[in-house]
Structure formats: structure tokens, C-alpha cells
């Protein structure tokens, strides 16, 4: 599904990501962890095309996407959530989903109509996505008025609305209490049931260890370990990276 091959990114003299390679298979949930500043978010941004890779290759379904701009990567099936929640806060909940649904071009009506005509309301589809995300009763509310946990869910719902094959979650559990984390865990498993592939960047180990199939550990932009949650917990290098010393 997602193949990352020897990618690297330098910011000035800092090697934020250095010769990183890993794969994510179809239908798998992979966790990407590492101490602060280890290059996790940079990796997500490289996959989404927020900035280009300095070297290396990123491909999705055998299609090389390393040089595509962000919006074309979305079209090839990648969508994401953000570390700091980013919603259109002055739009209502359903409008936030609608804007994502609309980007899927509708061949049946012709381009004149699609771009210049009144955009059509896909109410059933919006409702379905919101119910799936546990926001069914918040349809008409303003996105900015939702609680923190709900805003996270809305972001996830918007990511689903772009009909992705691969979802990148950038620290979705940041700032959540343990009930909310448990809810989030269930939602990530639901994504898997839909057949989606998930790459999860996360600090909250309570979530990572209980949801992922496989973990990739980064430190100083390099991969230091890869394996099942149990293997990673017992890995000496990982313990050293997190706790320091011997």
C-alpha cells in the first residue's frame, strides 16, 4: 500500500528525517512513535506533500507520489488529520464534511455545471459519515462550538469524507482523557473494518499498544526498531531512546 524508501529531509543543517524506509500494507494499522523531535510529524508532512522530500521515494499502490502536490496526493487516496485541530470553525458540522465531499469531481453533470452551478447537497452521505463518527446529533452545530473530543472526531470524519485508502493520524489522542482515548481506539478499529489503512503517529502508548498491528520507532530521524507492540516494548534500543542511558 504505502512504500517509503530511503526518504530524507533536511531543515538547514538538521536532518529531520534521515534515510527512512518502511512499508504499510493494505488494511494494516501501523504506529509511528519516537521521542519528541524524532521526525514523526515531518514524516507525515512528507507523505502528504506539505513539503517535498530531499531524496528518496514515496509510493502509494505502486504509484510514485514523491513529487505530486498535496491536492493530487489526496486524489490518489491519502487523507490526514492534524496535530493541532484544524477545522473550518465558522462553518457548521455538516458543512465541514460537505466541503470535503464536494472535491470529488462529478463527471455526470459536466464541468460548467460542476464549477459554476449551485453545488448539490449530499445530505444522506453527510449524515452517514457523521453517524459513523459519532456526531449524528451535532449535524447543525457550529464546528467551533464542539468539545475538544468532538472536534477530533469531526476532523476524522472529514478525513473519511475524501474517500481515502490511507489515513494519516497525527497525534489524535493528544490532550484526551482515558475515556476519550478508549473511544478513539474503537474508532480507529472501525476504520480498519471499513478496509482502510491507517498510519498512526502518537505519543499516548495506552492507545498505540492496544490498536496497532506493527510499530515503527524513530529517533533523530532514523528508524531504530520495527516490529509488533510486544517486541518493541522489550527492545533495548527503544528503551534507551525513551529513557536515556543504558
Amino acid at each position: 500500500m504505502l512504500k517509503i524508501k530511503n526518504i530524507g529531509k533536511n531543515f538547514g543543517g538538521v536532518k529531520a528525517v534521515d534515510d527512512l524506509s518502511f512499508n504499510v500494507d493494505k488494511g494494516e494499522i501501523v504506529g509511528l512513535i519516537g521521542p519528541n523531535g524524532s521526525g514523526k510529524s515531518t514524516t507525515i508532512n512528507l507523505i502528504c506533500g506539505v513539503f517535498p522530500v530531499d531524496f528518496g521515494n514515496i509510493s502509494v499502490n505502486e504509484q510514485n507520489i514523491s513529487s505530486l502536490p498535496t491536492h493530487e496526493r489526496v486524489a490518489s487516496g491519502i487523507s490526514r488529520t492534524f496535530q493541532n485541530i484544524r477545522l473550518f470553525k465558522d462553518l457548521s458540522v455538516w458543512q465541514n464534511i460537505w466541503v470535503a465531499l464536494q472535491q470529488d469531481s462529478d463527471q455526470s453533470s459536466g464541468w460548467m455545471r460542476e464549477w459554476f452551478g449551485n453545488s448539490k447537497l449530499q445530505k444522506e452521505k453527510i449524515k452517514e459519515i457523521l453517524v459513523f463518527s459519532g456526531l449524528g446529533d451535532r449535524f447543525d452545530d457550529l464546528a467551533g462550538n464542539l468539545s475538544f473530543g468532538e472536534q477530533r472526531r469531526l476532523e476524522l470524519a472529514r478525513a473519511i469524507a475524501s474517500k481515502p485508502k490511507l489515513i494519516l493520524l497525527d497525534e489524535p489522542a493528544a490532550g484526551m482523557n482515558s475515556d476519550e482515548v478508549a473511544d478513539l481506539r474503537q474508532r480507529i478499529l472501525d476504520l480498519k473494518k471499513l478496509g482502510l489503512t491507517v498510519l498512526l503517529v502518537e505519543h499516548v502508548m495506552e492507545l498505540v499498544m492496544n490498536v496497532v498491528d506493527r510499530i515503527v520507532v524513530l529517533n533523530f530521524g532514523k528508524k531504530i526498531a520495527e516490529g509488533s507492540p510486544e517486541n518493541i516494548q522489550n527492545n533495548k534500543d527503544v528503551q534507551k531512546a525513551y529513557l536515556g542511558g543504558a
Binding site: P69, R80, F82, D90, Q95, A100, Q103
Partner: protein
């Protein structure tokens, strides 16, 4: 209507084109201090085409639109990586570059209605289209107002289109817009180009109405006023810039009896409006609140 009143209304209509062009750029999230240049380009193009080539006003205004839009297209492509302050400064530099070059462009022809053609600091004189065609000030006002109305109606219809919706999303948060599959640069370039064309069209009308144009008319204060009108009026709906123009010029003229004190009063008024309505009078928030009410009503 008295001539005084007609002249005020015509001026308000013409400056509305600049306000709308500033508005179009503001909705994609940029600020331009250079719309006066496109107004100027349009003015010089229409002046040249109607006097030197004797073309019809419709063709002249069409070319004003197209040429100004092309300049705006070039500017937007050159500044594709600039945003915020940097774009604002780039647009201002472009406008000043244009204005200062006008002082150097001299090409005059003697005709039986006098010397015509751009003549450096002397300006472009004897744009006699309205006299030659016996267009009275009232009739010219009708032409100007109907063009403006056509533009506004078009914009209101487009407000619900995917094109305009996406443009607003790009203006709100470019990163999110990209991440749901919107191509931000397309909207930026498209709207800056369209804004240039709209300003150029208004400039063309201005040249015909004023019968005389000179480089100093297209200084930064013209662009700043256009920008201020769309900010006072709000970015929620195409009528916003018109309300801004109306408040500024309308009120300014109505308190003329206060003579020199009226500018002081006016400054305070603008400040007060922006304190009470920080996002302008017709703010996007107000529009989305109204829309939600309407949707709820149709659902109920």
C-alpha cells in the same frame, strides 16, 4: 436629479469596482495594495482605444478588462510563493512601478478634438467619448450602474458555486483546503486575475467619465480606499464592498456642511464601525448564521 448628485453617484459606482476587486482578493486570503494599478491600466486602455483608434466603448471596456486581467495574471504567477505581508508589498511595488512608468510614456496625436494620447505627467487629455456620443451624465450613470449591477448579480449567483466556495476555503485555511483536495494556487491565480479585470473595467469607465486621466490619480490612496471599503462592508457577501462605499462616500458627502471637521468625524466613524463590527458589516459569520437559519427552516 441634480448634476451634483449624479456625479457623486457615478463616482460611488466607479470606486465600487475597485472595492469589489479588493474584495475578490481578500476572499482568497490575500491583501492587495495594488488594485489602483489595474484601475489605471484599464483607464489608459479605454482612453487609448476610444480616442486613438475610435473603437466602440463595449470593445474598449472589454480590452480594458482583458489587459488588466493579463497583468494581474502575470503578477499572481510571479508572486505565487508570496503571501500575507509579502504579497501586499509585492502588489504595492507593482502598482508604483506602473504609476511611475506612466510618467515616462509619451505618445500624443493631434486630432480635431485636441491633443490625445498618454503624455507623461500631463496625463491623457481630451477623452471626448461622452461628448462625441452625446451621453448625458444621467445616461452615463445608467451605463455605470447597470454594469456594476450585472457584476454584482453574477457574483451573487456564483456565491453558491463550487468555485467560490473553494476559494473561500482557501482563504480561511490553505493547509486544510489542500488536505481535502483543493488546489490552492488555482484559486489564488484565478481570483487575482479576475480582480485585476474587474478593476480594469471600472478604470475604463472612469476614464470615459472623467475625460482626463493622469498618473497621480492612480496612487496608493485609491487602492487603500478600495481595500478599506471592502473591509468595512465585510467579506461575507458581494454586497459588502458596496455598503462600504456607500458609508464612506455617501456619509462623507452628506455631512459636507461640517466643512473641515467632516474628515475627523469620518475617521472616528470608520474606527467605530470596525470596533462594533470587527469583521465588517456583512461578515462571513453573519452570512453563515443566516444560511443556517434558512436551512433549519427548510428542514423543519
Amino acid at each position: 436629479m441634480s448634476l451634483y448628485f449624479v456625479t457623486i453617484l457615478t463616482n460611488m459606482t466607479l470606486i465600487s469596482f475597485i472595492a469589489i476587486s479588493a474584495y475578490l482578493i481578500l476572499i482568497v486570503g490575500e491583501v492587495s495594495f495594488g488594485q489602483q494599478a489595474f484601475f489605471g491600466i484599464g483607464a489608459y486602455i479605454t482612453a487609448t482605444l476610444t480616442t486613438l483608434l475610435g473603437l466602440d466603448i463595449v470593445i474598449a471596456l472589454f480590452f480594458s478588462f482583458m489587459v488588466s486581467a493579463s497583468f494581474a495574471l502575470v503578477l499572481s504567477v510571479l508572486t505565487i510563493r508570496l503571501s500575507g505581508f509579502y504579497f501586499a508589498v509585492a502588489s504595492l511595488s507593482f502598482a508604483e512601478l506602473f504609476r511611475l512608468s506612466l510618467y515616462k510614456i509619451e505618445y500624443t496625436v493631434e486630432t480635431n478634438s485636441g491633443t490625445v494620447g498618454p503624455n507623461g505627467p500631463e496625463g491623457f487629455q481630451n477623452i471626448r467619448w461622452i461628448f462625441e456620443n452625446n451621453v448625458s451624465p444621467d445616461n452615463f450613470l445608467v451605463i455605470a450602474v447597470s454594469s456594476l449591477l450585472a457584476l454584482i448579480i453574477l457574483l451573487i449567483f456564483m456565491e453558491n458555486s463550487k468555485l467560490f466556495k473553494n476559494a473561500r476555503l482557501v482563504g480561511k485555511d490553505q493547509i486544510v483546503a489542500q488536505s481535502i483536495g483543493i488546489r490552492p494556487f488555482f484559486y489564488r491565480v484565478g481570483f487575482i486575475t479576475l480582480a485585476g479585470g474587474v478593476a480594469g473595467f471600472g478604470g475604463g469607465l472612469f476614464a470615459l467619465f472623467n475625460t482626463y486621466i493622469e498618473p497621480s490619480m492612480f496612487g496608493i490612496m485609491l487602492g487603500v480606499h478600495g481595500l478599506a471599503y471592502s473591509i468595512i462592508g465585510g467579506l461575507g457577501y458581494p454586497l459588502g464592498p458596496l455598503i462600504g462605499v456607500f458609508i464612506d462616500i455617501g456619509l462623507l458627502e452628506s455631512v459636507r456642511f461640517l466643512s473641515e471637521y467632516r474628515m475627523i468625524l469620518f475617521g472616528g466613524l470608520v474606527a467605530a464601525i470596525l470596533i462594533i463590527f470587527p469583521e465588517g458589516i456583512i461578515s462571513p459569520r453573519l452570512i453563515s448564521r443566516i444560511k443556517r437559519k434558512l436551512v433549519k427552516k427548510t428542514n423543519a
